[in-house]
Amino acid sequence: MMNPAFILILGALPIPFLGRPIRQAWLLALPVVAFWMAFGIDDGTYGQVAVFDYTLVTLRMDGLARVFCFIFLIAAFLGNLYCLNDDDPVQQVAANIYAGSAVGAVLAGDLITLFVYWELTAISSVFLILASGTEQARRAAMRYLIIQVGSGVLLLAGALIHVAATGEIGFNHFGLETTAGKVIFLAFGIKCAFPLLHNWLQDAYPEATVGGTVMLSAFTTKLAVYSLARGYAGTEILITIGATMTMFPIFYAVIENDLRRVLAYSLNNQLGFMVVGIGVGTELALNGTAAHAFTHILYKALLFMSMGAVLLRTGTCKGSELGGLYKTMPWTTGFCIVGAASISAFPLFSGFVSKSMILSALGHEGNWFAWAVLLFASAGVFHHSGIKIPYFAFFAHDSGRRPKEAPFNMLLAMGFTAFLCIGIGVYPDPLYAILPYAVDYHPYTSAHVINQLQLLLFSALAFTFLMTTGLYPPELKSTNLDFDWSYRRFLPCVIRWGGRMIAAADQGARRGLLHLLDEILRLVNRYSGVEGTFARTYPAGSMVFWAVGFLAVFLVLYFVG
């Protein structure tokens, strides 16, 4: 049984040595072959390797792993197609190792195998950011790498504690009761961009290359979602964490100018929906999470592809410098709108059939607060991803830019992804068929369709109202402070201040000590120096005189005695 992850990882290695046409065919064939392999694997565990006293399970296939494995391989294919014309073997090798290790992690049946792939995703993906070649990207890449590797180190620490406590290395349900459970939870949480652990995402993704961001958007965070679903299903705190994640990034998304960063914020918001589903933990909720991860990877990739095409053709992705591009990039515009409609969960688009499962699961639980937050976030995501992205890039005020339409391979990748987004929305049954649990869910009820349209179109009305009245904040060239400020500005400031304080204290101490030494030397000098009492010299003659004198006195006393 060949592990599909190996196909991508090992298949990536010869890429630099292949000529262009063969390389292109190779890039498209790798994910297809891997998918074909994955398709043929029945539920069960394979690829056991004995290491010391433990048995590693390098391949475990079950309902949950299958959905993520399939969508990762589809995303790898679409990403490779999108980047087909890049003559950058380093990036192509990195991208395929990255995709392969994400698949490997999803199929990992034990914590050690998971750890190895976990770190491999971190190390391989950083090249997609570095490949941008700018100083800004290099710094973002280093921050990204430190945080990602840090997450892996926590995972390893948690795994070791777990093994020490239970003697098991299996990657199964942990829960938060044990220390190991808490440490591993934190490791997953970092990669899943939990609130306050999230900033690496908005920091690094928009700095990656045109194709790099498309790849990045698919794997890392969804691997974390999968891991949480595996290890922490039904952990109640995830509902609170997820609801917070759906809400706060949308405020940032409204005022962010870099459109790829807007998408990074909305990615964070979409992860929140999945995390809530894991927190609810019922069969419907977990199906919802898996389905939403599946649809999300597609429409998010589509949106990043369309913004990537804009970046490639215009050299910028800033809302303040774009507008009116629909005139010369009509296909890209159309595909972007399909992605926007899908993420907004319009009926007949993919988001509609997946997101609603999570909301329904919350309804069944009677958790009205989380439900209201998610409903707000649904309206909000339509507002910034559904309207803002296509509106400011392709419509709005005419920027006067007349770029060429995107290259053919990119259009093909976008077209294919858009087809899947609509296909799943119109006919969700094949997706429902591969979900972890049996599905008894019907998204297209009249109440659901009408309610969703009401929510979305009145949000559109709100946008129109704010635009026509001039209340809508304009796109401005700016940086908005987020939590990364704490480690990019505050912490360095504290460290610098601390450094200055230590330096000052050190100097003070040195000066004091020197002063003390001076005093001692002065005293020594006074009594033992050249002129000092103890150091006075006497001529040898006087010594002899005194010695003879004493002897004489002794002699006299002797005679007298």
Binding site: I255, L362, L457, L461, A462, L471
Partner: protein, 89 residues
């Protein structure tokens, strides 16, 4: 900003009246959807869902609130575009 050639083809959306048409279509569709609330059977999980026009009003009010709140956040959080350049790490 570059200036497009003046003899360029006019697009349908270039005409302000057509933009108005789109806006009015949206308003009419919204009004229709609002009224539609009276004509279908609801299966609410929560009491709020059975209020007339709940989804419509919630969507509108929350979105306006979201944008105004975000606009206010700018006064606190917005910095120059090159705020982090050269200063961090």
């Amino acid at each position: 900003m570059t200036t497009p050639p003046t003899d360029e083809k006019k697009y349908w959306l270039d005409d302000k009246r057509n933009v108005c048409k789109i806006i009015w279509t949206l308003v009419v569709v919204c009004a229709g959807l609002f009224v539609a609330d009276a004509f279908y059977h609801k299966h609410p999980y929560f009491a709020a869902e059975s209020w007339f026009g709940f989804y419509a009003l919630y969507g509108f009010i929350m979105c306006v609130g979201l944008v105004l709140a975000a606009k206010f956040m700018r006064t606190i959080l917005m910095r120059d575009e090159d705020y982090y350049d050269g200063g961090d790490e």
